[in-house]
Assembly symmetry: C2
Homo-oligomer: 421 residues x 2
C-alpha cells in the first residue's frame, strides 16, 4: 500500500474563535511535503464533535490522516472515541501509558486523567513526555481502503517532540524511506528560495531536506542516508554558498559569537549606526551576558560618532559616515573606551532613503579591532528587501565576521566568497 494523500485535522475551539493561531498546519504540511506526501486538505474544527463529520468527509480522499487536539481530560475532548468509532473498535487502556502516568501523578490518575491512557484497540500508543495525554497511531480499514491515522495532543510543546521523535520516522517508513535519520543545521543570509534550489543541487542518494524560517536564521535539516552522507551534503552546500553561512545545530550568529567568547573567557563591545542597537539586543538576549558583553555605542547621528566615540570629524567629512575608514575608527574607539578584548562596528545605509549611485541602499561597512591585531574593515552590499531586512542582515554579518576575526580568519576573503546574500 502506498500512502500519499494526507489530511490534517486540527481540533480546538480557541482556534475557530480566533483566540489563538494554529501552529501545527505549516509545520506538519512542510514535513509531509518533504517526505513526498500530498497534503490534500487542512481542516480546523471546534471541540464540539464536528470532527467526526469532517473526518468522514475526508475518508475516501486521504490515506493518511493526522489529528491534533481533543485528547485532554475534559468531556469536550472526543478524539479517542471518534477514532475508535471510525475504526469500529473499543477503547482499551494502554498499560505502558497508564504505568508511566501513574508513576508521575500517582493516585490522582483516578480522576479525569485515567481516560487519557485509553487508546483505540489495535492502535499503538505514542508516549508524551511533556503532558498527560498519550497519542496513538494505527491503520484502519474503511470500505476496503486502508487509512493510516495518527492522533496527537494539541499543545505545541507536547505535539512537536512527539511528532519529530516518533511520528516523522514512522511516516518516513510509510513513505518508503527505510533508513530515517536527520541532522540539523542553521543557515544565515541565504534567501529561502535560493536555499531550496541549492539543496536540490546538493542532494544525492535520495537525501531529503526541510527548512524552517526563524527570526535571525533559517533552520535546515537533512533527512535520510547516513550521518556521513548528510554531512557531505552540508559540505557541498557550504562550498556553494561560501564560508560561515551554514553552522551545525540550531544556533544564531549571536549564539556562535557568545560561545567563542565564553570558551576563550574574553569580552566584546560594539558601535552600531544603521542597525540602531540590534546587535546589542541580540548579544544581551541571555541572562548573564554582561560577563562577555560590555556594551555599545549606538552612534546613530554623525555627531554621536564624534561625541560618543571620538571618530574624527575629518574622517566623516573626507570618507563619509558609511566608509571603511569610519568603521575602523568606530571599532577602535569603542574598544579603547571599553577595554574589551574585541570590538566591532556597523555603519551603513539601511534605506529606503539615503542611497547614492556610489553607495546604494544596502551598502554596509563593518569594522573589527582586537588586542595585538590590526583593525580591519570590509564592505558588504546587502541586497535590499527593505529597511528592516537590511538591518537584520547587517546584524548577522557583523556577528558572523566577529567570530571569524576572533579566530584569525581573513575577512575580505570570507566576504568575497559569499555567493547569494
Amino acid at each position: 500500500m502506498n500512502y500519499s494523500n494526507a489530511g490534517l485535522f486540527i481540533i480546538g475551539t480557541e482556534l475557530t474563535r480566533g483566540v489563538i493561531a494554529d501552529k501545527h498546519c505549516q509545520l506538519l504540511a512542510h514535513q509531509l511535503t518533504r517526505l513526498g506526501y500530498h497534503v490534500e486538505r487542512m481542516v480546523v474544527v471546534p471541540d464540539d464533535g464536528s470532527i467526526e463529520t469532517v473526518l468522514r468527509q475526508a475518508i475516501g480522499r486521504c490515506d493518511l490522516i493526522i489529528l491534533t487536539g481533543g485528547l485532554g481530560p475534559t468531556s469536550d475532548d472526543l478524539t479517542r472515541s471518534v477514532v475508535a468509532r471510525l475504526a469500529g473498535v473499543e477503547l482499551r487502556r494502554d498499560k505502558e501509558s497508564f504505568d508511566t502516568l501513574y508513576g508521575r501523578i500517582g493516585e490522582r490518575i483516578w480522576g479525569a486523567n485515567e481516560q487519557q491512557t485509553l487508546i483505540p484497540d489495535g492502535f499503538v500508543a505514542i508516549p508524551n513526555p511533556n503532558g498527560t495525554a498519550a497519542g496513538f497511531r494505527g491503520i484502519i480499514d474503511i470500505e476496503g481502503r486502508e487509512v493510516a491515522l495518527i492522533a496527537l495532543p494539541g499543545p505545541p510543546r507536547e505535539m512537536d517532540p512527539m511528532f519529530f521523535d516518533e511520528v516523522l520516522p514512522y511516516l518516513a517508513r510509510l513513505a518508503g524511506h527505510n533508513d530515517f535519520n536527520r541532522s540539523e543545521y542553521s543557515t544565515f543570509l541565504i534567501p529561502e528560495a535560493k536555499l531550496e534550489e541549492l539543496c536540490r543541487q546538493a542532494s544525492f542518494n535520495g537525501l531529503e531536506w526541510g527548512t524552517r524560517f526563524q527570526e535571525m536564521a533559517i533552520s535546515l535539516y537533512l533527512v535520510g542516508g547516513s550521518s556521513a552522507e548528510r554531512d557531505e551534503m552540508a559540505n557541498r552546500l557550504r562550498a556553494m554558498v561560501g564560508p560561515c553561512l551554514i553552522a551545525d545545530g540550531e544556533v544564531t550568529a549571536a549564539t556562535l559569537l557568545t560561545r567563542r567568547l565564553c570558551d576563550r573567557n574574553e569580552t566584546i563591545s560594539c558601535a552600531e549606526s544603521c542597525t540602531g542597537g540590534m546587535a546589542s539586543v541580540q548579544l544581551t538576549d541571555q541572562s548573564g551576558s554582561s560577563q562577555w558583553f560590555w556594551g555599545s555605542a549606538v552612534s546613530y547621528a554623525n555627531e554621536a560618532k564624534t561625541a560618543l566615540l571620538g571618530v574624527r570629524e575629518e574622517t566623516i567629512a573626507v570618507h563619509g559616515a558609511v566608509s571603511q575608514a569610519c568603521a575602523i575608527e568606530m571599532a577602535e574607539e569603542i574598544r579603547h573606551v571599553s577595554g574589551t578584548d574585541w570590538a566591532f562596528s556597523i555603519t551603513g545605509i539601511a534605506g529606503p532613503d539615503g542611497g547614492s549611485a556610489e553607495k546604494p541602499v544596502g551598502t554596509v561597512c563593518f569594522g573589527f579591532a582586537g588586542a595585538g591585531r590590526e583593525a580591519e574593515a570590509v564592505t558588504v552590499n546587502l541586497s535590499s528587501y527593505g529597511r528592516s531586512s537590511v538591518r537584520r542582515k547587517a546584524t548577522t554579518v557583523a556577528l558572523l565576521l566577529a567570530c571569524q576575526y576572533i579566530e584569525g580568519g581573513h575577512l575580505l576573503d570570507t566576504v568575497s566568497k559569499w555567493q547569494y546574500i
Copy 2:
C-alpha cells in the same frame, strides 16, 4: 434569514506545502466570533480545484462562506469559476472593476488580468485598492437554503483592508448590527486576557470589541454604536487601566514619541542597560530618524556605565546599578554628551537571574532629563513573564514616559495609577 454558521476556506498550495503559514484564519475567526457567528470549520486546500469538493461538503452546514485566494491571473486560480458553478450563473465583467484596473494598467489588461475583473453574475464586486483581483460577494440559493458567499484575494496586504473596509460592515449588517462603525485604539502593557475582561466591564449599549496582538502593542477596536459612544467606552477603559496606556489609532510607543519630537522639532538620546538597545532599535525603525534621534549608550556592564557615560562609581557602589540615582545620572550624562533636548535611561533586572528580595526580577528604573527641567526617575515593577517580556515592556514604559516628561506630566503620578501592568 439568520446567518450564523460560518465556514472559512483558504486556497493556496504554498499553504498545504507548508512553505508559508496561513494568516487569515485567526483574523477572520476572531472577527466573526465577535459579531456572533459560530465558525464551524476552517479549511485550507491547494490550488488544484479541490476547493469545489470541500465547498460542496460544507454547504448544508454553513450559511456564511468566506473564501480567500484563487483569484490570481494564472490558470490555477479557479475560485471565480467554482463559485459561478455553485451559484448556477455565468461570469460577467464587472464594469467598475474593469475601468479601475484599465485606469491603472492600461492596455496590459488584455493579458491574464482581464479575467480578474470577472465576477459571478448577480454578485457585488469588492474593490481591491492594493492589487489587480477584485473580490465579490453574493447570496446563493442551494437546495432551498440561502448561503452568503464572499470571495477575497489571498495576499494579506490585499485581503486585510478589503475585509475591514467592506466585508466586516456587510457581515455586521447580515448579523443584525444595523449601525456598524468602528474606532481603533492601541493599548500598551495590559495583558490580553485582562484587556478582554476590562472590555466586558466597560462595554455598554451593545458595543463590541476585538483585539489584535502586535509586537509592541495590542490593537483594540470598538465596534457599533456612535463615535461618541465608542470614545466613551475607550475613556472608561482609560480610567480603569490608568493614564497613557490607550492611544488613538494604530500606533506604537515609539511612533508616539517620534511624533511629539517632530512636532516640536526637538531631539532625544538615551542610555540603556537591561533593554540592551531595544529602545534604540524602536526609535531607528524609520528612515530619517537621525533627525530626532541622536543615538544611545548601551551601557550594559557596570564599567560601561562609568566609562561610556561617566556615571560615578560611588553611585553604583552605594545605590546599585538598578537604582533611581543611577538612572538619573545615566539620563543626565547621555544628555550632556549628546546635547539633545531630551534624554532618557533604562536600568533594571530582566532576569531570570540577578533578582533579590529587595529588587526582584522585573524591577526597572527609568531616568529622564531635559533642558531647564529637573531630572526625574521612577521605578516600575514589571511582572515577569520572562526575560524577553520584561525587556519589551521596559522599552515601552520608557518611550511612554518620555512622552509624558516632554509634555510636562508628572511621572510618579502616572506610574502609580497603572493598574494591571
